[in-house]
Amino acid sequence: MNFNTGDTAWILVASAMVLLMTPGLAFFYGGMVRGKNVLGMLAQNYVVMGIVSVLWITGVYSLAFSGTGKFIGDFHQFGLNHIWQQATGFEALTIPPLVFCAFQLMFAIITPALITGASADRLKFGAWTLFTGVWLVLVYAPVAHWVFSPSGWLFKLGAEDFAGGTVVHANAGAAALALILVIGKRRGWPKERMRPHNVPFVLLGAGLLWFGWFGFNAGSALSANTLSAFAFVNTNTATGAALLGWILVERLRDGHATTLGAASGAVAGLVAITPACGFVSPMGSIAIGFAAGIICSFAVGLKNKFGYDDALDVVGVHLVGGVLGALLIGFFGTKLTNGANGFFYGGGWTLMGKQAIAVAAVVAYSFVATYIIAKAIDLLIGLRVTEEQEVAGLDLSQHAETAYETASFNDGSRFSQSASGN
């Protein structure tokens, strides 16, 4: 095989950048939880890096990318056997198959990690590790195969997802919704206030995500060329536009543009441009980002209306943003960048139809399969911590640690909860 060293070097770097997104996500989420649960959040994200790194190499990569099945891969590359062979349909790649495997591993890490934001503050650590492994095999591997593998049925259909709007974001968002419907609300929600304990952490995490996302999106070109440059610029443009859209809504609706809103808007833009970044123009990415910032800033309020406790808005940002971005390709897709023309470029509704099928299939499968997995684990070992452990916080009850030396009266946790007479 003829490898291109430039492409190979870029994808290795991009892989490292995507890995950094998970610690970034951990801080993005960790800052938003109460001070007694921050280590619990960090631990849930870090353990995913451990579990998926091992399972991916052992067999999940093969299930996702090997073989010619329409719905799932095969066992041909179990244990990275035959890893000198390119994955089916990727024969034209100019990077070693092992580099492709490593790059895809990082996507498989961050996808289950995204779910932790919804179930924050109440998940048992042990149950989460079991859930991660089962979910990776039963949900992530097939969905990645459908969309990313050229032998997958949604890929064959012609549905476009450049870097994982459906596979990563809509998938994790739908799974998050199913998981929280099984485990229930945080104790005291929505009556009790549970404000973020460290907004600077949130901004730090969002910055790491933004940086790593260049590897995620531009790396998904699997080469270093004009297409990766489009993905890079589109990613940055949409993120900027979404940040502005979100804080504009806040300024007009709530009176103040907030730092949490700026971080949330940036992440909403990153999510929405993920499927589209290699198929749209930079001007199109402004529209997609701005729409994502505005729509997601309203979507995070849906949980209050419908009464599901999506603690850190995984549904409102990742499910809504991922679905939005995947569908907007149907309007903004252009051959001038890559792929098929959408509605605004004279392609009619054909592409939109395919996008809608992909979105519906991924969301429906992820929701149903995750619901069954969560229910089964709940019956088997219990998903949720006890009431006493939840009040004490995950840091202490799950890990026998505390994040901070001193308790603050204002963090809404220790003081107010012990005062409310537990």
């Binding site: 206030r193 404000r195 973020p196 609706r253 009176g255 949490l260 800033s297 309020g301 204002n410």
Partner: protein, 112 residues
């Protein structure tokens, strides 16, 4: 002897401390405190949802004084801590039975 306790706005601490030193007070204890009075707390907004924060940060300042000076010291604190807006705090005095300086064992007003 009296113990003067003042709850003041944190940014007024330097003014009050300087005024007390100028008056001749030689020692005090300062700690961070949280609470609310008539001004209640404040409202914060996160992702469009409003959160009422009941407890606002304050500084608690304690000074031991001779009974004869108590009223004057209270006046000094009140003058220095006033901004005129709601939430300026409170100052009160309580009788103290005895005071001991740990190093020398002095007791009563000698220990102040």
């Amino acid at each position: 002897m009296k113990l003067i306790t003042a709850i003041i706005k944190p940014f007024k601490l330097d003014d009050v401390k300087n005024a007390l030193q100028a008056f001749g007070i030689t020692g005090m204890t300062v700690s961070e405190a949280s609470g609310f009075g008539r001004q209640r707390g404040h409202t914060e907004v996160y992702r469009g949802a409003e959160y009422t924060v009941d407890l606002v940060p304050k500084v608690r300042l304690e000074v031991l004084v001779d009974s004869a000076e108590a009223e004057k010291v209270i006046d000094v604190i009140v003058k220095a801590a006033t901004t005129g807006s709601i939430g300026d705090g409170k100052v009160w005095s309580t009788p103290v039975d005895n005071v001991v300086r740990v190093r020398t064992g002095e007791r009563g007003t000698d220990a102040i």
